[in-house]
């Protein structure tokens, strides 16, 4: 099956290339074809929360128009990209006025509904857990991994429709399939401080530290996420810096379990 792939700026930069490399190797092994969307632009990183802001929707809308045109689902890895694309897609669908304004900017009508998928949804809903399990060559036996969801994939759930927003399980199911031990802990859906890392790094560090400590107290050796900013914030905690817990992108244990040789090509 063919998909379009929206990488986003962070995955092409110095901090998240591992997520892209490992995830792309893995889909190839699963028999899927992810083709990078041509001429994609930064999604804007945050969904505009003010109704008057239309222009900031144009960039994610461009990607959605292209995906709708191609008829292929649009897949992303970064949870912020997915959040912005998904919410823009919902807005285009339900808000005629916004859709018309955006069509004026793009000088083209929305060619129909684009399908927006996060990579984890791709694994769950398109590949299927059972098929993924059959591909696991190197089960991560004995590894105690805690899922860290953060905010962007889950909320607002009415738009994201990703999983149960208070009791999600997709990442736990995923960790389970890879053969590792799932660490359950409170705070897996609690905010890490996000962009406060830029203006209020103390506040972000406190927020992240509570989450990391809770995971450690619950027996985690590793915390895994789909968000580059979550990863950055969690890695900034003293516990992670001292090596008490490893912070990974979810696609890293995936590629290990599939036994893939991933080339370390940094951008």
């Amino acid at each position: 099956m063919d998909y379009l792939y929206f990488p986003g700026c962070t995955l092409k930069g110095s901090s998240a290339w591992q997520m892209e490399n490992t995830a792309l190797e893995a889909v190839a092994c699963l028999g899927l074809n992810l083709q990078e969307l041509k001429q994609w632009q930064c999604c804007g990183a945050v969904y505009p929360l003010s109704e008057e802001e239309i222009i900031t929707l144009v960039s994610p809308a461009r990607a959605l128009y292209a995906a709708a045109e191609s008829g292929k689902p649009l897949v992303s890895l970064c949870s912020a990209c997915h959040h912005v694309l998904k919410r823009t897609q919902v807005r285009l669908l339900n808000d005629k006025e916004t859709r018309e304004k955006i069509s004026c900017y793009l000088e083209e009508d929305y060619p129909g509904e684009a399908r927006v998928l996060h990579y984890l949804e791709l694994l769950r809903d398109e590949v299927g857990w059972q098929a993924l399990k059959e591909k696991v060559k190197n089960p991560l036996q004995g590894r105690r991994i805690a899922a860290y969801y953060g905010c962007m994939l889950l909320r607002p759930s009415r738009e994201m429709c990703f999983d149960n927003p208070e009791r999600p399980r997709i990442m736990e199911d995923f960790i389970n399939i890879l053969g590792a031990e799932v660490v359950n802990y409170p705070f897996r859906i609690r905010c890490c401080g996000a962009y406060l890392a830029v203006t209020e790094n103390r506040v972000a560090e406190d927020a992240s530290r509570k989450i990391v400590k809770m995971a450690l107290d619950s027996g985690a050796e590793e915390m895994t996420t789909a968000c580059p900013l979550c990863r950055y914030n969690l890695e900034k905690t003293p516990e992670a810096k001292q090596g008490k817990v490893k912070i990974s992108y979810f696609s890293e244990p995936l590629s290990e379990a599939l036994n893939l040789e991933v080339q370390e090509v940094k951008p």
Binding site: G8, C9, T10, G13, S15, A16, C42, G44, A45, V46, L49, S50, E51, E52, T56, C78, A80, C151, R155, P156, S157, P165, E166, R190, C191, G193, A194, Y195, L196, A197, V198, T199, E200, R202, V203, A204, D206, A207, K210, C227, P228, L229, R231, Y232
Partner: protein, 133 residues
């Protein structure tokens, strides 16, 4: 002659125009505050922001630290029994401060070279989007 528009009506209309949210629907139950992960760093609780807006006390909200340590995590909105999206209300308050004066809470010069090197692009883009207009 229509009813004279008071400060609180005008403020609430402005917030509604930006956020689509009806501040007066808040019943002060505090569920937003109970779930807010940034509450320890706030001088006004999210619930108190709602109350001050209802009372038209724009000044106290405008000088508060609360909208600037709100991380737009959408937890409050997920828990509110009145289905109010506080993240958008906080955004409306931030825009009210940022827009008129083209004010900036964050300028590129505020960041050290070290921060610029290590922060993921996602942090920089979202930081500038949220804190400068």
């Amino acid at each position: 002659m229509g009813k004279p528009v008071n400060t609180s009506d005008r403020l609430l209309a402005e917030i509604k125009e930006r956020s689509g949210q009806e501040v007066n629907a808040c019943i002060q139950c505090g569920k937003c505050t109970a779930g807010c992960p940034m509450v320890e760093a706030m001088d006004l609780l999210p619930r108190q922001v709602m109350l001050l807006l209802q009372m038209g006390n724009e000044k106290e909200v405008a000088v508060s630290r609360t909208p600037w340590v709100c991380a737009s995590c959408f937890t409050c909105g997920a828990r509110c029994p009145r289905d109010l999206d506080l993240s958008s209300i906080m955004e409306a308050v931030r825009l009210k401060v940022l827009r008129p004066r083209d004010a900036k809470v964050l300028s590129p010069g505020d960041l050290s070279v070290e921060m610029l090197k290590e922060l993921p692009q996602q942090a920089l883009v979202s930081g500038f989007r949220k804190f400068s207009r």
